[in-house]
Point group: C2
Chain length 364, copies 2
Amino acid sequence: MDPRIREHAEIIANHSVDLQSGDNVVIDAHPVAEDLVVALHEVIGEKGANPLTTTKRAGKRQTRAYLRASDADDFETPEHELALIEETDVYIAVRATDNATQTSDVDPEIRSASQQAYSPILEERLSKRWCLTQFPAPANAQLAEMSTEAYENFVWDAVNKDWEEQREHQENMVEILDPADEVRIVSGDTTDLTMSVDGNPTINDHGEHNLPGGEVFTAPRPSTVEGEVLFDMPLYHQGREITDVYLEFEGGEVVQHSAAKNEDVLSEVLNTDDGARRLGELGIGMNRDIDRFTYNMLFDEKMGDTVHMAVGRAYDDTVGEGNETNDSAVHVDMIVDMSEDSFIEVDGEVVQRDGTFRFEDGEV
Amino acid sequence: MDPRIREHAEIIANHSVDLQSGDNVVIDAHPVAEDLVVALHEVIGEKGANPLTTTKRAGKRQTRAYLRASDADDFETPEHELALIEETDVYIAVRATDNATQTSDVDPEIRSASQQAYSPILEERLSKRWCLTQFPAPANAQLAEMSTEAYENFVWDAVNKDWEEQREHQENMVEILDPADEVRIVSGDTTDLTMSVDGNPTINDHGEHNLPGGEVFTAPRPSTVEGEVLFDMPLYHQGREITDVYLEFEGGEVVQHSAAKNEDVLSEVLNTDDGARRLGELGIGMNRDIDRFTYNMLFDEKMGDTVHMAVGRAYDDTVGEGNETNDSAVHVDMIVDMSEDSFIEVDGEVVQRDGTFRFEDGEV
């Protein structure tokens, strides 16, 4: 087995989820990620923790068969899975597939109904020590338009790194955003969006919940979002590419939307519930080792010179005490390229221009 | 997909586990059985039930890694898995592997310790609607010394059949064994064993808990087993073949044992706990469609002209009210060939001789 797989497993266990003896662990993974699942079992055995592997989220072919055979009215929260997650200490979600477009012929309405029923389980999961990571399977390499070997190098370089150093780099931006009130994102003449993050904590993502990490993120106060945004980086959602997503916000709510490709999938997302039409996250990509777009949000949103926002659910730890949160069954990230003709303004001061931070250059 | 896979899934759902709308279902399967898992998801979706797939028992490579890295003292009952099974209505275990000898280099002592910790979960599972079945993976075909196509035919012929007809054939033997007291099994000059089954119900296995089914079975009263038995059909346990298992019973307990091959594995089984040295099952194989030995207990024990016994745990529904049961963390079946120079005697009357039943011939 490639020694980088064992290294990946150790970073998950020791850095991301702080695995302890006696922990009840769930690993969710597609069979193509078997090598990483095996390496994780080795580490879990050494620690004296208890592993269980599921293929719930990752087993796309079975999910497709189930969803296509299901009636939208029939979904209910599976109590057995909820009970499992309630007693789980550590949840490790491994992304990898044998066909990234496996669920492209599932009715988006059915999927939304299923996700709504699943929402209490997602909520429970997010209250645990959890980590979402990637295994470099051939189909994921294909999606990234890379050879399998080059993609393996890309993934393991991004994952198996010095996370303390990355944390320190990002802390500069946390110190700006955490005490801030108003944030304004401007890019070309298509994006000019303002929002308040007043009182909402900014998180330094250095490879804990997401591996790779490499962003700082917070939650907008949902009702304060105003303006328009064009997400000019493509989005790969549930097996379909959505391009040029345009959203216009008034009083925090999407009042107009469009997409160049697969607009119906976007509409379905926004119609999931009330929270799906409001922002739940603002993130700044700061991982310069992720130097290319790979159609994979876990990596793409961490790219240097990008900003991303998610419609839907806000993460609890980004919502300040007493502040309004955004609840939803979905959380869908979308990216704006900030490398050219763009700036980020915090409380009236430009903190990043064309991808360069003030704390890097002294000025911008 | 081969239409026999969909048929298999329907028999599991409609005949074996009586799947209902709203049922919480766990499927445990190795990825090589993906086709059957997908077909099951289709049927489960149609019914409006809730599927979750795990690879706990079936994912041998991960299990091997976990067990080899573990310390025997560290095992504890995984509470998250127990919580899952407590809230589960239907448990479907699919046997299939990519390497039948995958766990052959796991220390038997470690495995026993792990099984003991797992025992409350097994107990919980057996209280649900459950089914154990087989998918004809290439490695299982290899174990059976058959081509993959011939093995597929063998498995699907044995599984996709008229179970009502099989049930009626077996009911003849249930009527003999259910009210009986003493059973005597004699084969050649190596096996002469007596036991009481007084008050213990005899179960007609027609493809419910086991698919294929094809046996009638009950539990001996544990302390009444006396005599000696040579299991002349080989046994494939945890990745290792054990041949010519010889057990001698006094007062229900194994007082002497040997095996021609892998005797240490047999010893490890018998030393798991007190119940592992006593019988938990007596079964009569009655499925004549299973016409060859395939090194797979799920099929082998159902063969016509065989008798099998298990050391370890007795199934609850085979123990009469007030009768002594046999508790254990293990349940290991072993087979005696009854086709030649053999007979089964029930309360002093011969009911089968050289594989032919009295109710088939009128006399034996």
